[in-house]
Amino acid sequence: MTYSSFFYSEILAIFRRKQDAVNALVFFLLVITLFPLGVSPSKEFLQPAAGGIIWCAVALAVLMSVEGMFKEDYNDGSLEQLVVSGLYLPVLVLLKLAVHWFAIMLPLLVLTPILSQMLFINWEILWVLILTLILGSPALFLIGTIGAALTVSLRRGAVLMLLIILPFYLPVIIFSTGAIAAAQVGQPYNGQLAILGAISLMTLTLSPIMAAVSIKASVN
């Protein structure tokens, strides 16, 4: 096994299990639908809240999809093979994550303009929203991987994972919705975007290693 063959097989695996990505997207849609139904469908509520609604839905959808990322591999034993393959485990985790990111985020980004119309977001704000999604979502995936790796050996790990990972998502959500809110009142939002990028970069250095440590502990 080499890095490129692993990467290729991951792409194939995700293509042949399209349902996982579809599930995440449907879940995303569903969470967004809850807000107009649950709070108010008026433009006065939805327009200012839209950024927050979309970001909360993204965070939950990402968490749900990342949770199952190692499950299959753990059950059929291929996770063990990754550990003993002699390749550097954090890089493998990163490759797997990159494939997942594309599989979930690309359709989600395509869906966002449509949803933003449903939530009355202006076109200028939509641009900011998409920027925050691109800059912030890697952090969501990277942090989520740690939780997925820790709870992979548990049969009902989903709730536990939600419990331990969701608090770490808060800074990402705060700064991305902060950027959107700043853009809505016409203030500069570069600072928030920079911090989002910084959080993503920091998790990029930290979390593959942590995930690898957790996978090794889970497999033994």
């Binding site: 942090i143 536990l160 419990l163 331990i164 969701l166 608090p167 930290l206 942590m210």
Partner: protein, 248 residues
Amino acid sequence: MNWIWFHKLGSPKWFFQWANKWSKFAFVIGLVMLVVGIAWGLGFAPADYQQGNSFRIIYIHVPSAILAQSCYLGLGVAGLVSLVWRMKMAPVFIKAVAPLGAVMAVIALISGAIWGKPTWGAWWVWDARLTSVLILFLLYMGVIAIQNSLDDMQLADKAVAVISVVGLINLPIIKYSVEWWNTLHQPATFTITAKPAMPMEMWLPLLLSTLGMYGFIAAIAMWRMQTEVLVREHRSNWVKKEILDNGI
């Protein structure tokens, strides 16, 4: 400086005997300072010119808030030690201290709410600092939850170490949230470098009760760690000898 005494603490046996000596000392000193500090603060310190007597809850609120943060700092450092050097005592420390930190966070939240009602007119406001203590509490609950749900002890130790280290990222956010969001909550009460903003008669009991709280929590943490050491090392000879000689 000689660090051998510190390295020895990595061994359960040494730790157990060291804690036997020091835990009572820390407990007595901590309790005395805590009682003196709180009694002084509640009974004798002058009333605040703006908040009147309601500010006196500071002598409980601030020590517990500081302890809640310090305990998490400890968790993070112990997690790092556990992952890098694999010292045996680090996971024991995490397991013993996480519930203490959670209790401290709860006390800080509740006393803050009680303080907030007369001062701000609301039990709770979504201010950065309050929210971050709430998040801190949730982080503690996450650590406790994963410790309890993983049956395999080695995996559980690894998991809490990883989560604690990752959670350490949250601490700077708590600390700097006041400057970042700049909201209702007053700035940090304690700074070691700057001159205290409150008069000496108010500040001294606060210092006393904070230090007392440190000693008190340290003693309880040592006892909890000792118990955990006994559980983990129950097969080793020194534990048998210890129990036969000294009882439980």
